[in-house]
């Protein structure tokens, strides 16, 4: 078992020497054994946050990084005992797979027998036993990332830090490896911080997600919370797809170019209402059709059709509907919105 520690960032800001303010003061508590995902578009400060935790960067004065009860702010990465996994794998090209995995053990002066046993364990854990004696340039991307994970975990680090580990892989491999990393992190119970710009990856892996925006934390929460109760429009638009209607409130009725939506809790000042594609559906026969629009695109996805319906808004509404019925471009459809999915931000 790993020695899982909680990690705390207290008032951690980062200004680079060239004056770039990469991170505004941030407070963050990561529970022992938790997988926390840092999510956001490129340049929002995810890597910087990870490097502060790793000890590769120092926070601006006043910031503190704690591992459990220990203040590690002044410790460089060499002294923090964290495992790193990079997008570019960063495997040592002059060493074989087994030598890469044994590297940390060698620096810790473990005996040859101990090293061999631990390397064997890690190869088995990542199911790459056959690759032990290969050189790095003989491996595929997916195999390289497995070796990198094995190497990082071999030394039983206090935390595992992963910076976009799947971004360089193709879609299919990304899915398989994401699944493997998920079960691995759960099985090991290690504290893990995972950086990605891919919201699907974040939702699948994270116990909690930190959505970042220009060096600030926009929202922290479980994937479900963030998806269902986004704290801001930024979060709502970044996670999943959001449908939007603009118009004005008349009592319980929101009027918009495509028709109206009835919502008892409608705030009187609402200028815009939001809802997810899964709360949008084609109105049933005989149902009072409150919204009407024309099909602007229909993508057949096998079990369902992804439908784009123009209701006179800036962007068409998106919904998924069973593939039994065919939809033609320009066809008029009536839509209904589930009330429980409505929100204003």
């Amino acid at each position: 078992m790993m020695q899982a520690v909680p990690i705390y960032l207290e008032n951690c800001a980062k200004t680079f020497t060239d004056g770039t303010r990469a991170l505004e003061p941030v407070d963050l508590a990561i529970a022992a054994g938790e997988t926390l995902v840092l999510l956001g578009p490129s340049g929002c400060g995810k890597t910087t946050t990870l490097r502060l935790i790793a000890g590769l960067e120092q926070p601006d004065a006043g910031g503190r990084v704690l591992f459990g009860g220990e203040d590690v702010t002044a410790l460089p990465i060499e002294k923090r005992n964290v495992g790193m996994v990079f997008q570019s794998y960063a495997l040592f090209p002059n060493m074989t797979v087994a030598e890469n995995i044994a590297y940390g053990l060698r620096l810790r002066r473990q005996s040859a027998a101990e090293q061999r046993a631990r390397v064997g364990e890690m190869l088995a854990l990542m199911r790459i036993e056959r690759l032990a004696d290969r050189s790095i340039d003989q491996l595929s991307g997916g195999q390289r990332q497995r070796v990198a994970l094995a190497r990082a975990l071999a030394v039983r680090p206090r935390a595992l830090l992963l910076d976009e580990p799947l971004t360089a892989l193709d879609a299919k491999l990304r899915d398989t490896l994401r699944f493997e990393i998920d079960s691995l992190l759960r099985e090991l119970g290690i504290t893990a911080i995972y950086v990605t710009h891919d919201q699907a990856e974040a939702m699948a892996l994270g116990d909690r997600i930190v959505v970042m925006d220009h060096g600030r934390i926009a929202q922290v929460g479980a994937p479900r919370d963030i998806y269902q109760r986004p704290a801001s429009r930024y979060v709502a638009e970044f996670i999943g797809t959001m449908n939007r209607l603009s118009g004005h409130a008349e009592g319980e009725v929101f009027r918009c170019p495509g028709g109206y939506v009835v919502w008892p809790e409608l705030p009187a000042t609402a200028r815009e209402i939001l809802f997810r594609p899964e709360d949008t559906r084609i109105a049933a026969e005989g149902e009072a059709a409150s919204l009407r629009g024309t099909v602007s695109a229909a993508f057949f996805c096998g079990d369902h059709v992804r439908l784009f319906v123009d209701v006179g808004e800036e962007r068409p509404l998106v919904l998924e509907t069973p593939a039994r019925r065919e939809y033609r471009h320009g066809e008029t459809v009536a839509l209904a919105v589930e009330r429980h999915g409505l929100m204003v931000l």
Partner: protein, 270 residues
């Protein structure tokens, strides 16, 4: 590629190689055997004690020069590649300046530094010490060779240092590697191809250097000087040719060994 096009594109290299290397080398090879001792002249380089000593001195000076040059260029090259400071461009330009100096000038500079009136001597006497004069010793010769070897090497190493992946060093550090372990396990292996190719050229150049040796090697016998003496003083053209050919062979061997060790990244083998 069609055969005709292949031959056509090979032509410039083939012509150049024949005109400036193959034909003169072949001629030299036969002239070497044209003296009184015939083909035995080629054996003289190992049987004649003077020639053999000169060969060893040449190889030793070249080896020491190569090691020192690589050590200095690696440290300076990696440092210059990683740090940006005012005057950096000027410093890089100054370090590559000796490329334009003839060997004789390099020799003069060593004399000005470590000769009888040299700056090093002045400094030592200023503090009441002995006046060290090593311009005309092996140390002085190596100093001159290192001086004109650094420009070639440092540019190769800076180019290689730029390509080192900083993530590799960070990964090593995450396992607790000390700076020295990072150098041993990441930086040196990363620079290896550049070190081998730059080192081979440095060695070959030092083996054949003449101008600097001409200025400084008044008491030391290195092969290029021996060849010069045989040719001009003794008019022993056959011996000079045999020694020249051997010198070429040694330089070629150094490059070939380096090439096979590094996997064909070495610039030249001739």
């Amino acid at each position: 590629m069609p055969r005709r096009q292949f031959l056509l594109l090979l032509l410039p290299a083939a012509l150049f190689f024949s005109a400036f290397f193959l034909l003169p080398m072949a001629r030299l090879f036969f002239i070497g055997a044209s003296g009184e001792s015939g083909w035995l002249a080629y054996l003289a380089i190992v049987t004649d004690a003077n020639y053999f000593r000169a060969l060893w001195t040449t190889l030793a000076v070249a080896a020491v020069t190569t090691v020192l040059t690589l050590a200095i260029s690696s440290i300076a090259g990696v440092f210059l590649e990683r740090h940006r400071f005012p005057g950096r461009a000027a410093l890089v330009a100054a370090m590559t300046l000796p490329l334009a100096f003839p060997g004789v000038v390099v020799g003069f500079m060593v004399i000005m530094l470590a000769g009888r009136q040299g700056i090093i001597g002045e400094v030592f006497t200023m503090f009441g010490g002995e006046r060290p004069i090593f311009a005309y010793s092996l140390a002085g010769l190596c100093m001159g060779y290192v001086y004109f070897s650094i420009p070639r090497t440092i540019l190769t190493i800076m180019a290689a240092a730029e390509k080192l992946d900083p993530r590799l060093e960070e990964a090593a550090r995450s396992f607790g590697a000390t700076p020295w372990q990072v150098v041993r396990d990441v930086i040196l292996p990363g620079l290896r191809p550049a070190l081998i190719s730059a080192g081979a050229i440095c060695f070959a150049t030092a083996v054949g250097a003449f101008g600097t040796a001409f200025t400084l090697a008044t008491r030391i016998e290195v092969l290029p000087m021996v060849i010069y003496t045989e040719f001009t003083m003794s008019a022993n053209i056959a011996m000079a040719a045999a020694l020249s050919f051997s010198l070429g062979a040694v330089a070629w061997l150094a490059l070939a060994v380096a090439r096979s060790a590094s996997g064909s990244t070495v610039a030249a083998a001739g």
